[in-house]
């Protein structure tokens, strides 16, 4: 009788195959794990630097980003209300406030930079998002993010309003992304909540 006709054969077979494939995956996973982690870290550091008024060369290596980050970005303190601080020489230039909230598909994580006056935005950058490529995914493009530079945080509950493309803009509003209403709305919601909270806190601490 062939072993293949035995009742236990399919179970053993399944087990062996799963074991072989899993071993390869775990091996590959452990080889690349450090690299993946480093990539994520660099993506975060890059986002912080992009949100701050720091000139980033067009082509820049991960090592350079890391060095730049270590040198100029300092940890949050009580008086910065949870935002990282960008210090040049001895003076505080700007804050970098991490943002995080639900997008259309999954969480969006980003950083918004605010000048030392706690009102002028120096930039915004996203380092983790799973929005639809070409639609919501456009939040990472400079066409969208560049709008934020130089805007003034207003004293309302919507510090930076994201408005429909047809609407007029003032110094505290930007245009949404066409065709990505959901992403724009959700981003606007959590960004403004976190920004408003930070504004209250930092004003109190100063």
């Amino acid at each position: 009788m062939d072993v293949r006709d035995k009742a236990w054969y399919p179970i053993l077979y399944m087990f062996v195959i799963t074991l072989c494939l899993s071993t390869v995956l775990i091996l590959f996973g452990s080889i690349t794990r450090q690299r993946v982690k480093d990539n994520e870290r660099i993506a975060y550091e890059r986002a912080v630097i992009e949100a701050l008024p720091i000139d980033l060369p067009r082509r820049v290596s991960p090592a350079q980003i890391h060095k730049l980050f270590i040198r100029s970005v300092h940890d949050a303190t009580v008086s910065s209300a949870g935002a990282l601080r960008y210090i040049k020489g001895d003076s505080l230039i700007a804050y970098a406030l991490p943002l995080e909230g639900p997008g259309f598909w999954a969480a969006i994580k980003g950083v918004i930079g605010i000048a030392a006056d706690t009102r002028t935005i120096t930039g915004i950058s996203f380092y983790e998002q799973n929005e639809t490529p070409g639609l919501g995914g456009e939040i990472v493009k400079s066409e969208f993010t560049a709008q934020f530079v130089g805007k003034r945080i207003s004293e309302t509950s919507n510090p930076v309003e994201i408005r429909a493309v047809s609407a007029d803009l003032d110094e505290a509003s930007v245009h949404a992304i066409t065709g990505a209403t959901q992403t724009s709305t959700r981003l606007g919601k959590f960004m403004n909540e976190q920004l408003a909270r930070w504004r209250e806190q930092v004003t109190r601490e100063r």
């Binding site: 293949r4 077979y13 390869v24 996973g29 993946v36 990539n39 598909w105 983790e128 070409g134």
Partner: protein, 211 residues
Amino acid sequence: MMPQKKTQDVVLTAVWGDNPVFRQILGICSALAVTNLVLNTVVMGAAVIFTTALSGLTVSLLRKWTPRVIRMMIEVLIIAFYVILFDQALKAYWPDMSRNLGPYVGLIITNCIIMGRAEAFANANPPLLSFVDGFFSGLGYTIVLCCVAVVRELFGMGSLLGMPVPFFSSVLWDRWIIMVMPPGAFFTLALIVWLARTIQVDREPKKGGVT
């Protein structure tokens, strides 16, 4: 020894005669979501080719030992294995692209083309031929998706591979946002299917165009 003719047949059938997309309408899910940018489509296509070819090879190698009752599970397992490998490699060595494609790479597992080829071809054919069949089925799929992507990116965003195209990126061209959105994918794909089928029906009037 496999005859030269057979390989050629397999290639032709996989890419044109039985093209997974316009002949069998398989694997549409991922097609809709990623085809609004050409670059994403190319990488996604590469992932599909990689997975169909290698899973075809593996399924075929194991076909003599695989018990029929758990055949589907083994196939799914093998496919998932290659997809995770690709996903992990992308995360480690091309993080920007990995971020662009997001959850779609994982969904390749359920791309019916791969399962379909494993089930219909690799189960009953020698390894090398299965590899060729998988490779070219994947290629046929990718070619159609690229056509869709070219149309969508050009009309919807006025660019190709991220580079602006003259006229389409100028103010004279009012971007068709609908093209970037999912319905645009349906309409573009429908037109391509229409075109391909019309040509096929003309060539082989007996077979007709019904699946």
